[in-house]
Amino acid sequence: MRTGHAYGRAVALGIALMTTALTLASPFPARAQGTPRVVEITAKRFEFNPKEITLKQKETVTLRLTTEDVTHGFFMKTLGIDAVIEPGHPTEITLTPQTTGSFTTICDHFCGEGHGNMHMKIVVE
């Protein structure tokens, strides 16, 4: 299967009013004390687990993404998230959301019949 993406790709898409500090690195280095809170998210056809996470505005967190089956995408344009999750290779996204709201995040790497409804919510309070 052709994925068309190098592993660990991330594209910053935010604009001034919705600036999100976002970095993507994998394999991820060992963390020192005081490093961001880590939120684990698992993907499998055709759902994310958990289905909703809550972050705090201006708090830096790391999303650690893994897949239990095939390659998935993890995309939320407003937050500047555009990543690929490949089997056997956890992907990490570090972000600092600047704006509150509820952001639907989708799998944008076609993964089968139920792909169109594979999504979760990132709530920023």
Partner: protein
């Protein structure tokens, strides 16, 4: 049904229904003055095609192989669309199919069978050519390999009676994107045309951010449209969203065709991306046509086709009776 369905009354028909696609009628550059007319004559000399008015139809999202909720009709809407096209008084030259010809299947051999079934039904079309590009359900799992075996390249261009048609693939990379190789090909393809050339792009996903949370976008759509930006007569036809939509940006018109399997709701009215429920009393709800008339000869819109959006209600012309009446009268 004894009433005559002439074009005027047909245009008055209103309602919602399962879509049959979009019918376009184009008289490229004929009657146009100045530079456009000169281009028409030049193209005629170059490719030997006699320029005359022609029409074409856009069909989309037939999802052959899908048979379940919300719509249990399988290929019936697709087959009725084919019958309807064949019954038109003015037969279209071309049919463009803007993706999701089939519904994906991981059962060995099943997806290939669905593509054969699509070709069997579309093979009944009495037109000069049927041009298809893939949707993600055709090509998202295998990078387009099966589609290429069945239909040929996933992106390509051709000329027809003075109009340049470009089929773009924004699904085979699994992500909603066209990709740098195809964009480079597009630049090269367009280089030989003057900026006033009439161009019809057909693709599956919208080339702009219609609703990213529903994956109604193409991540490098802006790059594609930047390549097309110098051209003055660009129409982009797409599918994927299973509903009619019109959008204008940078001088290009973007038009979505209805599906032939089920309809999605207006995303402005709901957060839930769920197909509209099937109505057994109106099984072909949302059946519709988009008719593009002859281009204006003068003014700001010179050389661009005019578009009438038509929806066919099954309230007045229900079920098979309605379709047959329309076919018999050859309304358009």
């Amino acid at each position: 049904m004894s009433e005559r369905v002439d074009r005027r009354s047909f245009l008055k028909i209103a309602g919602t229904s399962l879509g049959i696609g979009a019918l376009y009628s184009v008289a490229p550059l004929l009657g146009a003055d100045g530079e456009a007319g000169e281009i028409a004559r030049t193209l005629w000399k170059k490719n030997g095609e006699k320029l005359k008015p022609f029409s074409f139809v856009q069909l989309s999202d037939t999802h052959v192989g899908f048979n379940g909720p919300p719509d249990p009709l399988g290929t019936q809407a697709f087959e009725r669309a084919v019958e309807m096209i064949n019954g038109l008084r003015h037969r279209p030259d071309l049919v463009l199919v803007s993706g999701d010809l089939t519904h994906d299947s991981e059962k060995p051999g099943e997806h290939a069978d669905r593509m054969r079934r699509f070709k069997e039904i579309s093979g009944r079309l009495k037109v000069d050519a049927v041009h298809c590009i893939p949707g993600e359900h055709d090509a998202g799992l295998d990078g387009g390999a099966l589609f290429r075996d069945a239909f040929g390249p996933t992106f390509y261009a051709f000329d027809h009676r003075g109009v340049h048609f470009i089929g773009l693939d924004n699904v085979s990379r699994a992500k909603p994107e066209v990709g740098p190789e195809q964009i480079a090909w597009l630049k090269k393809d367009l280089a030989r045309f003057p900026v006033s050339a009439p161009i019809v792009v057909f693709t599956h996903r919208p080339l702009f951010d219609l609703k990213p949370e529903w994956e109604w976008f193409t991540s490098d759509g802006d790059e594609v449209m930047n390549v097309l930006a110098p051209y003055q007569n660009v129409t982009v036809l797409y599918g994927h969203i299973h509903r009619h939509h019109e959008h204008t940006a940078g001088g290009a018109r973007h038009l979505a065709a209805r599906s032939l399997i089920w309809a999605f709701p207006d995303p402005a009215t709901t957060d839930a991306k769920k197909p509209l429920p099937f109505d057994k009393d109106q099984p072909f709800k949302n059946l519709g046509l988009r008719i593009v008339g002859e281009p204006k000869a003068r003014g700001a819109a010179a050389g661009r086709p005019t578009i009438d959006e038509v929806e066919l209600t099954m309230r007045e012309y229900s079920g098979t009776v309605g379709i047959n009446q329309f076919l018999k009268e050859g309304a358009y």
